[in-house]
Symmetry: D2
Subunit: 148 residues, 4 copies
Amino acid sequence: MRKRSTNYNIIEHLTTVFTARVKFNETDPLGIVWHGNYISYFEEGREAFGRKHGISYLEIHKNKFTTPIVNVVSDYKHPLKYGDVYTIKTHILNNRTAKIIHSYEIYNQDGKLVCEGQTTQAFVDLEGDLSLYSPDFYEEWKKKVNFE
Amino acid sequence: MRKRSTNYNIIEHLTTVFTARVKFNETDPLGIVWHGNYISYFEEGREAFGRKHGISYLEIHKNKFTTPIVNVVSDYKHPLKYGDVYTIKTHILNNRTAKIIHSYEIYNQDGKLVCEGQTTQAFVDLEGDLSLYSPDFYEEWKKKVNFE
Amino acid sequence: MRKRSTNYNIIEHLTTVFTARVKFNETDPLGIVWHGNYISYFEEGREAFGRKHGISYLEIHKNKFTTPIVNVVSDYKHPLKYGDVYTIKTHILNNRTAKIIHSYEIYNQDGKLVCEGQTTQAFVDLEGDLSLYSPDFYEEWKKKVNFE
Amino acid sequence: MRKRSTNYNIIEHLTTVFTARVKFNETDPLGIVWHGNYISYFEEGREAFGRKHGISYLEIHKNKFTTPIVNVVSDYKHPLKYGDVYTIKTHILNNRTAKIIHSYEIYNQDGKLVCEGQTTQAFVDLEGDLSLYSPDFYEEWKKKVNFE
């Protein structure tokens, strides 16, 4: 089972911060955010990253690729409750494969780390075939943003 | 980041099978099940496990504990589409810690493996304190079902 | 605001019954099913209706139409709790417009009515235009199932 | 089936505006926001209303009441797509019953009305009994904000 590869480096200058508020319907009978909803928080962070750095879902789609998630890891440290405001720090990780790897840290309003996660995305073309090479548009994007 | 420990053994005779149908609102603009919804499928599998073997959320609650998820890992192999029927095999893993570790395999109606995952749960008492020891009721349950 | 038209008749012989179990992540901090999730229960009922009577989303799509929801009404009578098993009765209503109107009753395992609802769907063609007339394929379906 | 009572008046000076962005996992295979997710948007609007005017869920809870939703109506006018930014206008309606009635208008980034809705909430005390009278704390709140 694929896991967080600690030898991949975070590209520091691309880290993106996004803040939102826990919704009532995200919490469970224990009064805390249901663990599956953090996957949606990671996506919020990833989308904010994409909008900021010009590599959003719609951008990728325009280049005739999709980037399905092939792996998610989430470590829960501390609960978020209804009314809490959380901040997601989204990083992108340097790696030699045809993959996009993000890591995430979620903090509550007191700056306490509540969750850490990682997602891995593959490149799939419009025929549904997995790309073994990083597509041209993605390599160009990496140059533009001084990735690595 | 905690990951699937391959040296933990599956307790074969406790494996539980649950079958359901992909819902329209679980699918995304790509026409496939949104990756975060598999966390909910794992929970369906875990709940079926709990009902079958007498260790459900309500059972645990009656014993004055909750078992929050502290780690999730999910590996996506193949998409599920609207209309697909999926089967979740839920296993429980032998481990020497005060944790409940489940692993999951999800298959589509053609028997193809679409997703593998793992969840780890800790024991927390009513004061909100993490239990460093496996609670008595859980040890009794393990004896009853010939766990390990 | 469009509402349940009490002068529309239920086509009794097409009523479809679907039973499922409340999921943990459908309940809220009050320990009851979050009200918005009943919209998903209505959809479960509507999909069971479509599968049984040959008028599913995929059937409609094959005929080059979509049937977006234009109105939902939901009346909550009694809460559903975690662990409850609910049964959805889905009806279709006779009406003279180019609309599909379903009504729903949801019962708990004791046969108590917990929720009543209604949805209205319009026919939209592949160009995204609203159809003012009931499409041929739908009229043929109505004849086949002795609708009205 | 309860519906929008057009003889209830909007209390204009209490209207609250909330803006957010459509999330990827809120959209369906048609590429538009799944209709059930608007119930969550109404809740976002209602929570923004509560925070602004001091009548939030937590405020109500402190006064030993809950206010479950007893009726929802939603009229869909125009789809929201992935990437759209929507604005919810939340109103509160004057009414002589022991109920909280909100109405909602949702607009897209071009100012086009995409959805209208209404929710009705009852007062339930900690014993789970429906209150036939508007509780004291709610009447005091109404005075404080010049409701009616």
